[in-house]
Assembly symmetry: C2
Homo-oligomer: 202 residues x 2
């Protein structure tokens, strides 16, 4: 399998952490593909017209995206139900918790693009801040339930969101604002899957 | 069930079309909740910190988002495997096709926000156009396979993306550029689920 990859994309990192957790990382050959909102990777468009990473190309040519679809595929390769419960309300709960952490990553990436502009829109910056002020307490309130579930998609994505805030939004002070989330994230970040995929500021 | 709803959100429409297809529409009470990137709905944040619609509140207080999670939940209520194949490669293929149409909707919404700004970034407008020039032929090439599968998540999302282009991006001329997609979409749009949820320009 070939994965369009970049060392700093949190969505790519989700896939790589999942692959490590499932024992599949060695079957994935990574290809460095740099994408930015203002700089699409033209060479990627024939494989993923949305120009997004991660994009996984299977040996038979089948192409998979986005990160959730790829992780569900890898999970099925590893027998199924390991990172995402196979059925029932446990599955829906895991996917909903994933949606919070994953949607937060989307928000942070848009926020970062906005604040770097010459003419950022104050109303938009305020909206990102307002939502973040809602997301952080929501994650802090929920981390007990997230941590109780088996290590899976929601935990991986939540831990990566924490690492992404450390990397791109140190000013948020999220660790002081979310002490339980912070302690849990710090412990999760010691897993081999997280250490193997840590963001390197190169 | 209570659904935070708006008549023009294509993501809300996905949920409502799915509910109609599954015979569950009458169990959903819609609440009009207006959100825009620059105008978050403050009253929504306690239920969905990301401030996004659709957000579904179950009778026991459980809150579900995003549209994919809600549709998977509704599908399971209706017995499972009706709009998304329950397992196997058919499931992965359906989710990947959904990811293309759904990611395209994300792109179009960001594009619309960008072009309405006082200082849009030319590089960003170019990037949206370049990706759209890749997405349209990808959908046109794939509509045969999408149409062959049972009416489900990928068909619903693809048809809604077509309607959204008619509504917000008439200048794209997508129907002339994608004649097979256009013909298929026009037929799909006649389904009662689509007619019951058609965008009204009020």
């Amino acid at each position: 399998m070939k994965l369009h990859w970049s060392p700093r994309s949190p969505f790519v990192r989700k896939v790589m952490v999942a692959a490590h957790e499932l024992g599949l990382a060695e079957r994935i050959a990574t290809v460095r593909t740099v994408v930015a909102m203002q700089k699409p990777a033209r060479e990627l468009l024939p494989e993923n017209a949305l120009g997004k990473i991660p994009t996984l190309v299977l040996d038979d040519g089948t192409i998979l995206y986005d990160s959730l679809v790829i992780i569900e595929y890898l999970d099925s390769l590893a027998g199924g139900g390991r990172l995402i419960p196979a059925a029932g309300l446990a599955r829906i709960a895991e996917l909903r918790r994933h949606a919070l952490a994953d949607g937060f990553l989307d928000l942070l990436i848009l926020w970062r693009n906005e604040r770097d502009r010459a003419h950022p829109l104050p109303a938009l910056l305020d909206a990102f801040a307002l939502k973040t002020d809602a997301v952080l307490p929501a994650l802090e309130a929920e981390i007990g339930a997230i941590a109780e579930a088996p290590a899976g998609l929601a935990q991986i994505t939540t831990a990566i969101a924490g690492a992404y805030m450390d990397f791109r939004f140190p000013d948020l002070g999220w660790r002081a604002r979310c002490p339980r989330l912070s302690a849990w994230q710090q412990a999760f970040a010691e897993r081999p899957s997280m250490r193997a995929t840590a963001i390197v500021d190169a």
